[in-house]
Amino acid sequence: MTKLPKALISACIIASMAISFVGCGSTKIADSSSSIVSSTQTAPASVVPAKPLTLRFSWWGSDPRHKVTMEAIDLYKTIAPNVTIESEYMGADGYKDKLMTQLASGTAPDIIQVDAPWLSDLVKQFNAFADLDQFKSILDTSGFDEKFVKTHGAIDNKQYGLPTGTNVMCMLLNKDILAKANIKSDQVWDWDTIMSEGQKVNKIDSKSYFLDMDQNAVALLIVRPYIKQKTGKQLVNDDYTIGFDKTTLVDTLTYIKKLFDAKVIQPAAESFMYKTVYFQNPTWVNNQTAATIEWVSMIVARKEGFKASAEVSLFPIPKDAKDTALLVRPAQLLCINDKSAAKEETAKFMNFFLNNKDAQLILKDQRSVPPTEAGRKVLTDANLIDPLVSQAVNMSVEKAGTAENAISSNTQLDTIMIDAVEKVAYGKSTPEVAADDMIKQFQSKLNELKALTVK
């Protein structure tokens, strides 16, 4: 073999490797020469562009939600055949980390499902989302409750996201287990009765427990509201000072300790390995749990294993609560990536997703009750809202507590709270010591976060 072909072959190999390396880059929006597409669709007055277009849509959820969302996407294809929507879905765990990485690297999808507590951070840190007011002609927001939309999807008067559903905190119960433990069916649940009646479940059957909640759920759905109910204030004030005192915190953590000691909740050593996925705990899967405290948007998926005996109840609110702390907030928000190359098309899809009647019928209540009056009517008429979901939302909306401010829902503070819950639940620290630690770390973290706002 002569030298020239050898070098040529090596160059070809390297070139092909280089191309395959580059080719594995991010998806590009398909672009082809413009062709006139004759359209006979019944889409709104705006003209469908001729060029084929690909939009990326990311959301989190579990299988039932993925299924209906993709069905709705298929429906959109019939309305706007030139637009292809790529689905990027996953479970909730890790979604936010992935999104933040994508926003930082400029590879985020076009339309993004976002949790309301994240909005402030993402907007301030990345300028991530487009102001939806500029799409007023495409996005019909008349069906939404204006106050709801402005409270939860707007920052500094700019509307960055629209709610996908109305979410409330509630209790999901399995009445069979309650009956076995001789707990009366119309029991009113507050923190005291959870302690007094909940103990009965494990006493009757040592494998059963009243509550199945992992450390994440305990921190966010018991500790946080418990504190707020006692203080009537935000967890963290707008000026980044802590909104509760040590006594309240010790009180709260003592309650948590009592729950574990009395076996109202399954011991931490067994249940805390299912962090953020308490429903994968065999105790839940085998229907040995009487109840959980959960967001209503999740209960349809959670009660799969005991559909016939599922019940809902109001979130625990003590009679002397200064604030019900019952959060009524968007199930999620839909936002448009500010760096999207096709913001108008994305807005059109968002409009379809949130307002189109047929889309509502497909999406059902997988993102809780629709936020628009029309959407709710469509589903109720067609009997597509799970009656438990309607019941929970209806009984909760009027008892709604104060919405949380941005700093109170900072996930780094959640981590500190979860640590405190773990220490108490595992019996590693007394509530006093854990409370001391938590306040110290809160202080330190808040100082750090405050320093970042001075820019």
């Binding site: 030298k3 050898k6 070098a7 090596s10 160059a11 390297i14 490797m17 280089a18 980390d97 933040m100 990485t101 926003l103 930082a104 840190q125 990345f126 931490a268 050593a269 067994e270 805390f272 390995m273 962090k275 065999p282 996930t411 780094q412 981590t415 640590d419 773990e422 220490k423 595992y426 590693k428 630690d437 770390q441 330190s444 970042l452 820019k455």
Partner: protein, 314 residues
């Protein structure tokens, strides 16, 4: 002349062509390793230098990095509630995994150092886990094995042995993920096997003649002659163990109560959950320095316990 011509396959390059041929050959070699060079520069050299730079800034994704001097390094020791926990957990992990791994590797290598029919099959079987090292899938499977109602506990109850909460307490969980590390002893075992085969059989025969017991021969013949391999395996496994992340992240997510909060997890949390890239960079450089210090210590000590047959120095 003719013979040499035949060797050159009929080619008879003139002196000037010879020089060109040599230069061209050099470039060809370079082109062949170019993909590796590009990969090295982009994925190793650049991050190496960039993290050093960022470790002196407060770089957080989405913001412009600001120079803050040694603040990150000072904060690590004074202002981070979990830095020492991560250091402690990682040290315990390394001290558990590395010796156990080497002991198992040597033990199995000795057993497999026989000439029976299917020994190669067994050698392969024992080697395979180490290829799967760092795999997320294996970690997921490991978790499924050791959760409370997992396969291991089911097996134990089948034999009427009580259930063990493998992931239920800090120390137990750390032990469980250490076992995952130790299970992957295959690569060390293969090296020990090669080392064992290099030991001259005459030494053992001489030992037998002198009446030495098997254990004595192991102690005074096998071990000393294996010390170069032990040395190599010790360093490689220690470097790997310090950087362990996947098993802690997937099996226990750092829990329970940060009992498996390896340094890799700390780094991950700071970088990708808190987005403090500057601080995470300083953490990674601290890890690098720690590994370098330990490696140098072992190298320094090697002159006293590593024995090279050819009397070579390192």
């Amino acid at each position: 002349m003719k013979f040499r011509d035949n060797l050159n396959c009929g080619l008879n390059p003139s002196p000037s062509k010879k020089v060109v041929k040599r230069k061209f050959k050099n470039y060809t070699g370079l082109i062949y390793i170019l993909p590796w060079i590009i990969g090295f520069v982009v994925f190793q050299l650049y991050p190496f230098i960039a993290t050093l730079f960022y470790s002196f800034t407060n770089y957080s994704l989405g913001r412009v990095p600001k120079f803050i001097g040694l603040k990150n390094y000072i904060d690590m020791f004074t202002n981070d509630p979990y830095f020492f926990q991560a250091v402690k957990v990682t040290t315990i992990y390394v001290m558990m995994v590395v010796p156990l791994k080497l002991i198992f590797a040597l033990f199995i290598a000795i057993i497999l150092n026989v000439k029976i029919k299917f020994v190669n099959f067994f050698r392969t079987i024992y080697y395979i886990p180490s290829i799967l090292a760092g795999s997320v899938t294996i970690s997921i499977l490991w978790r499924a094995l050791f959760v409370n109602d997992g396969l291991v506990n089911n097996l134990l109850s089948f034999f009427h042995i009580g259930q063990i909460q493998w992931l239920g307490s800090s120390l137990m969980a750390l032990f469980t993920i250490s076992m995952l590390g130790v299970w992957q002893f295959g690569s060390s075992m293969v090296l020990f096997l090669a080392g064992l085969k290099q030991i001259p059989k005459e030494l053992y025969e001489a030992g037998k003649v002198d009446g030495a017991s098997k254990i004595r021969m192991f102690r005074i013949i096998t071990i000393p002659l294996l010390t170069p391999i032990i040395f190599f395996n010790l360093i490689m496994q220690m470097i790997n163990a310090f950087q362990e992340f996947t098993s802690a992240f997937v099996v226990t997510n750092g829990g329970p109560m940060r009992g498996t909060y390896l340094f890799g997890m700390k780094l991950y949390e700071e970088a990708f959950k808190n987005f403090k890239m500057g601080y995470a960079s300083s953490l990674s450089w601290m890890l690098f320095l720690a590994i370098m210090v330990f490696t140098l210590l072992i190298f320094k000590s090697s002159s006293s316990w590593v024995h090279y047959e050819d009397g070579g120095e390192f």
